[in-house]
């Protein structure tokens, strides 16, 4: 299957006062929730879309209000192959989470409520439309019953 390629990336670089730790943790958790990748403990990356630009923009504003400073960039990778590698990293991460859901679905009496919620969270971070995600959706639909589609 041909892999979808991001042409450009949004990068967020920020610093925030060490205290209060709650503010630091809050920003960190939002970045995790967005599914951003942290490169070299320095730069947070997302594929550039109008949506991701806006998410980083407002997070940057929030960091400023928390006494920090944020810079937001949009960039392309210049070195051969690195773009595909980065796409791969994003995909690998959601695939791990999808795989966990698939395995849990095979258990006896899986917790479908929890798994469907987890699926929705992973899908929100699935920027490159993983094939595994489609399988999870199919299994969840089957588990729900009714007509198989």
């Amino acid at each position: 299957m041909e892999q979808p390629q991001a042409v450009s990336w949004v990068l967020l670089v920020y610093k925030i006062p060490r205290e209060p730790t709650a503010s630091r943790a809050q920003v960190w958790r939002k970045l995790k929730r967005l599914g951003a990748l942290l490169l070299h403990d320095a730069v947070w990356v997302l594929p550039a879309t109008p949506w991701t630009r806006e998410q980083f923009q407002w997070l940057g504003v929030e960091i400023g209000e928390l006494g920090g400073e944020a810079h937001l960039w949009e960039a392309r990778l210049l070195l051969n192959g690195q773009n595909a590698e980065l796409v791969q990293q994003f995909q690998a991460r959601v695939d791990v989470a999808y795989q966990e859901i698939l395995e849990d679905l095979l258990q006896e009496e899986p917790d479908l409520v929890a798994l469907s919620r987890k699926y929705q969270q992973v899908r929100a971070q699935d920027y490159f439309h993983s094939e595994l995600g489609r399988q999870v959706l199919k299994r969840l639909l089957q588990a729900r019953g009714g007509f198989a589609s």
């Binding site: 939002k30 998410q55 504003v61």
Partner: protein
């Protein structure tokens, strides 16, 4: 009066325009400038642009800020603000299942609208509908209590 925001409106700005026209300025005129464009027109109140008074604050959306700045205490509007908070930016805790759908619909509304002005106009019906439904649920809830 005139109000200005960045072009290509989404869920928060559509909601803000609805709120402004309905509660603050029935004759509001909306202007749109390209993202990041400066200087902003001096004769217009800017909203949902980073750094201005009516913008995101402390992780809350602009709609929420407008309610606070203009002392709008209607509990239905407060509820809509919570939905838009979740629809517009990533939140750690999700409590409003309508949020994701609302975001999707507003984004789609821009796709089917010829320009931002038209998208705002059409968006009004969505927010009127959301308000009506949430208001009726609130009434039921209060009747249940009594």
């Amino acid at each position: 009066m005139k109000w200005v925001t960045w072009e290509r409106v989404g869920v928060d700005r559509m909601a803000c325009a609805w709120l402004i026209t309905k509660y603050l300025d029935p004759a509001a005129e909306f202007l749109f400038v390209p993202t990041g464009y400066k200087p902003l027109p001096v004769d217009a109140e800017p909203f949902d642009i980073p750094g201005v008074r009516l913008s995101h604050h402390r992780g809350h959306c602009t709609f929420y800020t407008i309610l606070r700045e203009y002392d709008l205490h209607d509990p239905v509007l407060q509820h809509i603000a919570r939905v838009i908070d979740e629809a517009d930016t990533v939140q750690e805790v999700s409590l409003e299942p309508a949020a994701a759908g609302l975001d999707l619909i507003c984004r789609g509304l821009c796709l089917v609208s010829p320009d931002d002005q038209a998208a705002l106009e059409r968006g009004r019906l969505i927010y009127d509908a959301l308000y009506a439904q949430l208001a009726s649920e609130l009434i039921q809830e209060e009747q249940g209590k009594g």
